[in-house]
């Protein structure tokens, strides 16, 4: 089953195509009546395929296709241009803009059905099959939750992503995303028959979240097997699984660390943070090749520059996050910065982090 976006300014065409999809396919359909709205829909939740009209006001279809191809989140999706402009030059223009196929209107529905399946079959998969990414900071206040929530929101733009708040002490993922944690993993610890899927909440970005219980210490803690089972459940239908890890690393979280493709270890530059980071590296030494050391930007002041920090720890800092005054403002509003202000310095740095994670 694929997710298909129809972008056309004609309500009749949208209706016809929606009916076609409903009767002849099991694909999920969303639609937009102009190029700008279609682009916003695609960027927010990239579909597998878009059917794009050319002749639309505000933004024509060629421009929509060019913008979709230019963004990493949507560059690999299937695109069919469906237009009354059916000349050979129009076909060449459609392919040049980046469409996979050009179909002139009025379109034969059998031809359309074949074209859709052909383009979907060819569309390259987005990102790796599944990637578990724990975000660790054994010292509070370094911004690990900020990194986890914003990074998860960015990755959701690329492929289905889940975020597990594994904080035992009233985690802040829900707060960061503006969610009320009415359902959380505490219910699973109370009743092992609870389906994890039923306990997840969905943020406005489409990100699925397993929140921590708001009241700490009431529900107990996981066993190693339970962590493995929850991780498995969170991985179903997800390409990226981010885990906001607890501040202590013990055997119970071993399944997560074993499954991790990359581990984001957040460090600060004050002596306690440095000490904790070095201790963490000792604990995680068997996974050292998968660790990306992230310098926190939680504090506005810096005690030392990054080269000095690297020298003092004898470790390379892979990602240097800037301090971003927009972040506390976003947190106060219950808005995640990656959506509220995608151009802000922290989000830009996290986009580079996402690129780093996606690079083999």
């Amino acid at each position: 089953m694929a997710r298909v976006l129809i972008i056309d300014d004609s309500p009749d065409v949208i209706q016809l195509l929606a009916t076609f999809f409903q009767r002849r396919t099991d694909h999920q359909v969303v639609s937009a009546k102009n190029g700008k709205a279609g682009l916003a829909l695609a960027m927010g939740n990239p579909p597998d395929l878009a059917l794009v009209d050319v002749m639309m006001p505000v933004m024509d279809g060629y421009e929509v296709v060019r913008k979709l191809r230019a963004d990493p989140a949507t560059s690999e999706m299937g695109i069919i241009i469906l237009t009354a402009r059916g000349q050979p030059v129009d076909q060449a223009a459609a392919l040049k803009a980046g469409a996979d196929l050009h179909l002139p209107k009025p379109v034969n529905l059998d031809v359309l059905a074949d074209a859709i399946e052909s383009v979907l079959a060819k569309a390259r998969p987005v990102g790796p099959k599944r990637m578990v990414i724990p975000v660790i900071s054994l010292r509070g206040g370094t911004g690990a939750t900020t990194v986890a929530t914003n990074l998860a929101t960015l990755l959701q733009q690329v492929a289905p992503t889940t975020l597990w708040d594994l904080s035992p002490a009233s985690g802040h993922v829900a707060l960061s995303l503006g969610l009320q944690p009415k359902s959380h993993w505490g219910s699973y610890l109370r009743d092992r028959d609870q389906r994890i899927a039923d306990l997840t909440m969905t943020a406005s970005s489409g990100l699925r979240v397993l929140c921590a219980p708001p009241m700490p210490g009431v529900y107990g803690w996981f066993t190693k097997d339970q962590v493995a089972r929850v991780l498995q459940a969170m991985s179903e239908d997800a390409t990226f699984v981010l885990v906001d890890m607890p501040p202590t690393l013990d055997a119970t979280v071993a399944p997560i660390l074993q499954a991790a493709a990359k581990i984001l270890l957040i460090t600060g530059d004050d002596p306690p943070a440095i000490q904790t980071t070095l201790a963490s590296m000792q604990v995680l030494r068997s996974a050292s090749d998968r660790i990306l050391l992230v310098r926190s930007g939680a504090r506005p002041d810096r005690l030392m520059d990054t080269p000095s920090l690297e020298q003092s720890m004898r470790l390379r800092v892979h990602i240097d996050l800037p301090h971003d005054p927009n972040q506390p403002l976003a947190l106060n509003r219950g808005a995640v910065l990656a959506r509220a202000k995608p151009e802000s310095p922290l989000v830009v740095a996290l986009k580079r982090t996402a690129q780093l994670l996606l690079t083999p």
């Binding site: 050319v54 002749m55 006001p57 024509d60 000349q87 030059v89």
Partner: protein, 174 residues
């Protein structure tokens, strides 16, 4: 009068190096009826997109509705032949049709000319036949300055005043 179902057709209108793709509302009159009507100089088109003939992806302007001056049109291209033929021309189509090649500003156009005559006489055709437009079917219009740019249609309504050269073209069989 034949009752026509109200429908919208998309046609390409060419003038002065530009192409306007737009929708024409067919109600009581076909597009060809309006084009051939000597009593009107104008033609209303909706959702019109203007682009240079050599770069269809470069949409220069969009008009929700616009009025085209027929006297400035070089030719009109319809995908469906029936949208470009007058009623009387549809009946002639089964009799004779000549392969012709003609030129208008920026284009060389090849197509078939429906005719009731047995032979094609270009001079007689251009001087004696009535109407400010002529209709060709199964048309290919090739851009003079970029021969790789071609437009095709079931029918083309071509302004007589825009035609520079016209003649019967040789087919491969000949």
């Amino acid at each position: 009068m034949q009752n026509l179902k109200s429908r919208q057709i998309v046609a390409d209108f060419f003038a002065q190096g530009y192409r306007v793709s737009g929708a024409f509302q067919v109600t009581n009159r076909l597009l060809s009826d309006v084009i051939y009507d000597a009593n009107t100089s104008y033609l209303d088109v909706a959702d019109a997109y203007l682009s240079p003939i050599t770069d269809p992806a470069a949409i220069s302007a969009y008009y929700r509705t616009t009025t085209l001056d027929k006297t400035n049109l070089d030719f009109v291209l319809t995908l469906d032949r029936n949208d470009g033929l007058r009623r009387d021309q549809r009946y002639k189509l089964g009799t004779n049709a000549f392969n012709v090649c003609l030129t208008v500003p920026f284009f060389e156009i090849q197509g078939r000319l429906p005719s009731g005559n047995r032979t094609f006489n270009a001079r007689a055709f251009m001087t004696q036949e009535a109407g400010t437009f002529i209709t060709l079917v199964d048309v290919t219009a090739r851009c003079t300055f970029d021969p790789e740019v071609t437009y095709q249609g079931g029918a083309a309504l071509i302004a007589r005043r825009a035609i520079s050269f016209i003649g019967e073209s040789q087919t491969d069989e000949e």
